[in-house]
């Protein structure tokens, strides 16, 4: 008797056979594909919108400064060195850090002592995106004027000179417009430090990479600082905002997850019932295959792959339709990763749903359906 280790369906033969069976069973295939498509479409058009809304709400909360940490030398006795900015920038989970000297009153040099005063601070660190600058990059000792300070000083354009209390002047070479959490700087001029500048820092502004790291970054910043008088330091974080953010993210995320699970669960049951109905109608088909030499594993694989092929087609169609609906309703489409995750989840759910009916088909007694009465 021949000995042959090569038996049962190879991968390509299995896929080919599964696709032929799918085509030869159009009603069952269309039903299954439609269910998977509807599952994807419903998830994207409901949860997809919720996720977008969640992202917008969280972005607004973040704008209010959930990740901001401000260390202030209240009495000016701490004598914090400007080099602390570089050390803090090297800490983990720090997005950016700025150091500011104490404020000095200045006036428009063109107007002189009669002009309205604004404040000038030395800025240490690289300006973040929240501080949009206009004009050329200032050299050492030159200043940028904030949008509000420009009006206060009576500067028609962000260019000119300002007068220090000791009579020296500082050139203004550009302007800036700061958004939260640095919007307060719009009332100031920021001077780039020179090599000889050695003013101690009066405040340090740190942005953590995410709200969860505000507390550990705060602790790390305090450890890095080497204040002369630590009692003079105060630290401000938006822990309440961070808590609200976490709560909002949790609530909205929970709602989204529940909705996804509910839709997937319903889809899973419907796919299982459809595949089971198909398997029941094809009893003789599976009995014949068993007689021809198909093992139980081959039957399970055949049903699973057949369902997988249909599910892939249905999930892609459903995802496209869902994304289109979201685009029609909101003007934007869900993120590609979210789309892909929904497609993969729907396909996996469909595959899981097909396994019990596949097992039923594999375990059914072939002789019972093959016998001719």
């Amino acid at each position: 008797m021949r000995s042959n280790s090569e038996h049962q369906l190879g991968p390509m033969t299995l896929i080919g056979e599964a696709s032929r069976v799918s085509v030869s069973q159009p009603v069952a295939s269309i039903m299954t594909g439609l269910i998977v498509a509807v599952v994807c479409g419903v998830i994207l058009s409901t949860t997809g919108q919720t996720v977008q809304a969640e992202e917008q709400v969280l972005a607004r909360i973040d704008d209010a400064g959930t990740r901001a940490i401000v260390i202030t030398d209240e009495q000016g006795n701490a004598e914090i060195s400007a080099t602390a900015v570089e050390r803090i920038a090297g800490l983990s989970h720090v997005e950016w850090v700025l150091g500011l000297s104490s404020a000095t009153d200045i006036r428009n040099a063109a107007i002189g002592a009669g002009g309205s005063p604004a404040t000038l601070r030395i800025l240490y660190g690289t300006p973040p995106e929240a501080l949009a600058t206009l004009g050329r990059t200032p050299s050492a000792g030159e200043a940028l004027v904030g949008a509000d300070a420009q009006k206060t000083l009576g500067l028609e354009r962000p260019i000119g000179g300002v007068l220090l209390p000791d009579g020296d002047t500082v050139s203004v070479v550009g302007g800036f417009s700061a958004s939260e959490p640095l919007a307060f700087l719009n009332r100031s001029l920021l001077v780039t430090p020179t090599n000889t500048t050695d003013a101690p820092l009066r405040s340090i502004h740190v942005q953590a990479t995410d709200p969860e790291h505000v507390e550990p970054v705060s602790q790390a910043v305090l450890a890095v600082l080497d204040p002369l008088d630590s009692s003079s330091l105060s630290i401000q974080t938006s822990e309440t905002l961070a808590d609200i953010r976490a709560a909002v993210a949790g609530e909205l995320g929970q709602f989204s997850r529940s909705l996804v699970l509910l839709v997937l669960g319903v889809g899973l049951v419907l796919v299982a019932l459809t595949v089971y109905a198909g398997v029941t109608l094809r009893r003789q088909d599976f009995g014949r295959r068993r007689a021809l030499g198909a093992s139980r594993t081959a039957i399970i694989s055949l049903v699973a792959v057949q369902n997988l092929l249909v599910a892939v087609a249905g999930a892609c169609a459903g995802a496209a339709a869902g994304a289109f609906l979201v685009w029609r309703w909101t003007g934007s489409i869900p993120r590609p990763f979210f789309n892909l995750a929904v497609v993969v989840l729907a396909i996996l759910a469909s595959l899981v749903a097909a396994l019990p009916p596949a097992l039923v088909a594999a375990l059914r007694d072939p002789v019972r359906v093959l016998r001719v009465p």
């Binding site: 021949r2 190879g10 056979e17 014949r288 295959r289 021809l292 030499g293 081959a298």
Partner: protein, 211 residues
Amino acid sequence: MISVEDLSFSYTSRSEELFRDLSYDFPAGAVTTVTGPSGSGKSTLLYLLGLLLTPSGGAVHYDGRPASDLSDRERSRLRALHVGFVFQDAALDQSRAVLDNVAEGGLYGGMTRRRAARRARELLEQFGVEVPEKHKPGEVSGGQAQRIGLCRALIKEPTVVLADEPTGNLDRASADVVLDALVDVARNGATVVISSHDPVVVQRGDYALEL
């Protein structure tokens, strides 16, 4: 060669026991017919020989080795590689084309789809199945359908062919074609077992087992 030793079988614990310690050799290179009245277990014996059923007592041997107590995977492997079934009603997949039906017989033994399709075309031509290969079984006559079923059984070049009332639904001419083919397979060395109550079929056999 396949053989049964002290074979008995019952579908349920309360149903009547069939065969009652039957021992019999089904030689290779010969046609053995199985006859008997309705309910005597002719089809059941074929399913036992094809390892689709497990005996209640005794054993089925393939080439002297016990086969009926093998795992499902091993029994499936034996069927896929060595056993060709011919059913009374042909048992064709009505939703698939004639060519697909024949080719399917080779897939579980590891044939590629392309090779199986090529071999299927040769067999359909050899047995005079003159219908377009994309036709569905519902579009062919009963005689043609049984020949398609025969092609499906022979595509893997089996060493054992089990035919359950293969001529039961056929006219004499179609029955002769099927019987000639089964006799040819036996002459080429295969073990052929045919269950039938048709005296013409029994006459064509080399050995007869009456249940």
